[in-house]
């Protein structure tokens, strides 16, 4: 997960309704956040997966409803930011 991915952005910055592919996941140093990232990985946010923001909260873009595989998850922007994605063309 170390290599640089050109054009990768945090999932929290992906525009609504656009598909993207997970490129890598940021591993934080904070223990609580590591637990979060571990769970995100377990839920399927692993490199290579296609994702899309189905809906987001209006004013502050939170929470985000993110589709991955056959499942949709409600995430905080803080949580989504650990997931790096490359938007589809």
């Amino acid at each position: 997960m170390e290599q640089e991915n050109m054009g990768a952005i945090g999932l929290d910055r992906l525009p609504e309704d656009q598909w993207a592919t997970v490129s890598d996941v940021t591993v934080p140093t904070d223990a609580t956040d590591r637990g979060l990232v571990l769970r995100l990985l377990e839920l399927g946010f692993v490199p290579g997966e296609r994702v899309r923001v189905v809906r987001e909260g209006r004013t502050v873009r939170e929470p985000l409803a993110v589709r991955v595989g056959h499942t949709t998850f409600a995430l905080r922007r803080h949580e989504a930011a650990f997931i790096r994605v490359i938007p589809a063309e």
């Binding site: 591993v27 637990g35 571990l38 995100l40 990985l41 939170e62 949709t72 409600a74």
Partner: protein, 617 residues
């Protein structure tokens, strides 16, 4: 049937992600042969049932709480992990059945790979196979079994024969998967496991492109910032309409039934103590509580149906922002909604909240949601306030519900403000695919609620009723200064003593006494008031007479004060018990009781004193 049936019952446990259809499968396997949870008890945190295999072997099955992973994040997941890793008081199951959703193998397969490391005999139940076929998902089951090196069986938990293959499989002698190598995984291992999952998934599943999934279109509408809220408002409105109108009709029928029974007893028994106990004590008291059963069941029917259809998590998504203003997250929505039926299942539902402060806050404010046991007292008082004005009465009722919600949000906000840890609470909540609710699970769920309620009526409430009746019937042994007996019952003495505490908030002796049994169970406040005013007759008549006396005899300030008291006061011992159990702390229980009492006393005091001053001038 040559082989003798082994006598030893098999102990199995169902393991699976939330929303894998595990509970529906459990219901299909065991039917009504389940141990029903009794919320008043201390030990019941588990659902267990029995069934027989095809060859007749008895199986006892444990329905573990849903878990995404054994790296537990929530209290639910910790229970599951502890049971199957042998770190609980439970006997380790002989066999694990890992239930996976065939329409979502990509997500659910990971738990199978993790559970395989436990070393326990393991069977995979490929659930919702019917739905997978409808969606055009093809799964090569035998290849999956080879890849996993495990038995894999297809199940359809919504069909009567959907678990027959699993029943058959349990007669086989199933090998264990070797010594346990499970330990909490780190990030590297999770990624390695996910690679395995992906490889297996791609080799056994062929499916249409996920872009075609109809769920997304529904989500875009139901979670729309405007239309989504409009739909939610309509759904909640219809739910509470059904509770009040449907509940009233059914309650009327039950009321008449009890009235008829009381009439029969009165006609066939001579006047005396025993008849008094039966008619006024037991039939009046118990009947007065059973009339709420329809309202509770209707509310639960809506909650269960909305939850299993997948709608409630979407509602929680919509409400996440508004609730975060009070320091809560959308995850608290479902527990709080359940609390409108009864705080106890609501508090138990907080187990899915992984963040401790959020969970504790939700537990502490759950009793402020107007539970169904408050409805009769609200109805009685509001009717006494507005005898001829149904519209005002209805508006005030709505106002009382809103007052509870506003108070809850305020308390949550205060807790957040005093907490030094300002970290944002996590959300990470699955919005599962929409589906039709499984009728069998709905019926069993409602049956469970009904039994819990009726058991409560048969034990706590019956006991309170009898004790109350006795306190009113036994005269006080105290004598006045000149030696004459005081003309009071024991209950009157108690009310007289409590009156000193409650006089500043305008409660008379009858109310003061009625609050004592009300502490044990809110539902009995109305019948306690009835007994306090020593009225005869069946439930309906008592209500009528009571309403008249309250309308005519209580000052406005007292009526308002008691209404406010009912909104805030800590009542119902079962809630205390469940708070103690779920938080594992006496301190939290007393905090909850203390703040609610203070809030109630303060609100009633201000209301009473202010109204008294205003009405006097």
């Amino acid at each position: 049937m040559e082989a003798p049936v082994p006598k030893q019952p098999l102990r199995i446990a169902l393991l699976g992600n939330p929303n894998c259809g595990k509970t529906a499968l459990f219901n299909l396997l065991t039917g009504s042969r389940q141990k029903v949870a009794n919320y008043a008890g201390v030990t019941v945190e588990r659902k267990e049932g029995v069934f027989r295999t095809t060859a007749g072997r008895q199986v006892s099955v444990l329905d573990l709480p849903g878990a995404y992973s054994l790296n537990a994040l929530s209290g639910d997941e910790a229970v599951t992990r502890d049971v199957i890793t042998g770190h609980s008081q439970e006997v380790l199951p002989d066999l694990l059945v890992c239930v996976v959703d065939a329409t979502n193998l990509r997500l659910h397969l990971r738990l199978v790979l993790e559970a395989r490391r436990l070393g326990l005999p393991l069977v995979v139940a490929l659930n919702k196979m019917d739905r997978a076929r409808q969606l055009g998902i093809h799964i090569d089951t035998s290849r999956l079994a080879r890849e996993l090196n495990l038995y894999v069986t297809e199940t359809v938990s919504v069909h009567t024969h959907g678990a027959d293959t699993l029943r058959e499989l349990l007669d086989e002698n199933l090998p264990s998967t070797g010594p346990s190598t499970w330990r909490e995984s780190g990030i590297e291992q999770v990624i390695a496991t996910q690679h395995d999952v992906l490889r297996i998934f791609q080799s056994v599943v062929t499916e249409p492109a996920i872009d075609k999934d109809p769920s997304d279109r529904m989500d875009r509408f139901l979670m729309h910032p405007v239309w989504g809220f409009a739909v939610l408002a309509v759904v909640l409105f219809l739910t509470f309409m059904a509770v009040f109108s449907g509940g009233a009709v059914l309650s009327g029928i039950i009321e008449e039934g009890f009235g008829a029974v009381a009439g029969l007893v009165e006609a066939h028994m001579d006047e005396g103590l025993l008849r008094g106990l039966l008619v006024e004590g037991i039939i009046g008291g118990v009947g007065g509580v059973i009339v709420f059963l329809p309202q509770i069941l209707i509310l639960f029917l809506f909650i269960l149906a909305l939850e299993s259809s997948g709608y409630l998590p979407r509602a929680a998504f919509l409400l996440d922002r508004p609730m975060s203003a009070a320091g809560l997250s959308g995850r608290s929505f479902i527990p709080l909604l359940s609390s409108f039926a009864c705080a106890i299942p609501g508090i138990m539902a907080t187990r899915t909240i992984s963040h401790w402060r959020d969970r504790l806050t939700t537990i502490l404010i759950a009793p402020l949601m107007a539970c169904s046991a408050r409805i009769p007292v609200y109805t009685l008082l509001v009717a006494a306030l507005f005898p001829d004005d149904a519209v005002s009465a209805a508006l005030v009722m709505v106002g009382l519900y809103i007052l509870g919600i506003v108070a809850a949000m305020t308390v949550a906000w205060v807790i957040k403000s005093t907490d030094k840890d300002h970290a944002r609470s996590p959300l990470m909540m699955e919005l599962p695919a929409y589906q039709w609710p499984d009728v069998r699970s709905l019926v069993i769920g409602l049956w469970e609620r009904a039994m819990i309620f009726l058991r409560r009526v048969g034990t706590i409430i019956l006991a309170i009723t009898i004790v109350m009746w006795a306190l009113y019937t036994i005269p006080s042994p105290r004598r006045t200064a000149d030696g004459a007996p005081v003309e009071r019952s024991l209950a009157g003495e108690l009310g007289h003593a409590l009156h000193h505490v409650f006089a500043p908030i305008g409660f008379n002796e009858q109310i003061s006494f009625a609050l004592v049994p009300g502490m044990a169970a809110r539902e009995v406040v109305v019948s306690a008031l009835g007994t306090a005013y020593a009225m005869q007759g069946d439930e309906g008549e008592v209500d009528e007479q009571l309403r008249e006396r309250i309308t005519n005899e209580w000052p406005l300030a007292t009526k308002l004060s008691l209404l406010l008291w009912m909104v805030f006061a800590p009542q119902c011992l079962s809630t205390f018990a469940v708070v103690k159990r779920e938080t594992g702390s006496w301190k939290q229980m007393w905090i909850m009781g203390g703040y609610l009492f203070a809030l109630a006393y303060l609100a009633s005091f201000i209301t009473y004193q202010l109204t008294t001053v205003l009405t006097a001038s």
